[in-house]
Symmetry: C2
Subunit: 140 residues, 2 copies
DNA sequence: GTACGTGCAAATATTTTGCAGCAGT
DNA sequence: ACTGCTGCAAAATATTTGCACGTAC
């Protein structure tokens, strides 16, 4: 038997992590999630947060986003959608733009292999950073 | 004077790193670049490779790509283009698809702030992994 | 009862940085 | 000569993991 079916359990830790992620509009990093969850369950460990984020991602209940280099961010909304990333404060927000399935069709002609999905990120300045006079200047 | 102009020097190390990046079709990680450069200049240090990758990225001479979580990859082609990422072997390849500027226009209407650019990644199975019978199965 | 999950702490992996001497312009 | 750059090694960051005990099912 090459594959073993793991029967995941819904522990209190996993449940709280999921609730925190679903209840926030920002797309927090693992340690921000850790801090949030600790307010509800102070004894949780960071390792548990990472393990659960992995399990939830593999289950398709949340999604992992990685922009810039360093740390990952997580999104409690598992459905396919696009993101906006602020080049100044690095905030990540959902973009209210329909998913363009046509991109997969177009890409399939240009790629040697099988196209399954795509990921689109919009970059720029968020409203907050824009108001800090940054929008007066040209982009770097 | 809030900004200081740094006058970068073209050292032999920087030059070799740039040549290695421009001479490869793959999009290598920092330590792969390090190994390549060491064949030409064995005494170079990993810290120098990281410092130069940063400077070159800031200068717009190369670009940094980050998919999945862990390590960054670098692309010796600084012009705007899209990438294909294999979900199995994580190889990254250029996609021969024109840049769709219209996406910025569309996004500008859906975003609160200033849209400057976008990044598009196509996901799927590369030709090699496809041939390993993986294309017979449905995606996970 | 079984075996997945947890907290803790140590281990990994990746990237950054302080420092004294080196080298591009 | 000025100041950025280098190699080295240590530090900082982010994430993973071994282990013994705990708990969902």
């Amino acid at each position: 038997m090459p594959f073993k079916l793991i029967r995941h359990r819904m522990t209190r830790q996993r449940q709280i992590i999921l609730e925190v992620l679903r209840g926030t509009g920002v797309h927090p990093t693992a340690d921000v999630i850790y801090e949030q969850v600790r307010k509800i369950m102070p004894q949780i460990s960071l390792g548990t947060v990472y393990r659960n984020l992995r399990v939830l991602t593999e289950n398709g209940e949340i999604q992992e986003l990685s922009y810039g280099s360093s740390h990952s961010r997580f999104d409690g909304n598992p459905s396919d959608h696009y993101h906006f990333v602020c080049r100044e404060c690095h905030a990540v927000a959902d973009v209210n733009l329909p998913v363009m399935n046509k991109i997969n069709t177009l890409a399939a002609e240009a790629v040697n292999g099988r196209v399954e999905s795509h990921r689109l990120e919009i970059y720029g300045l968020c409203a907050g950073c824009c108001n800090n006079n940054l929008c007066a200047k040209d982009p770097d």
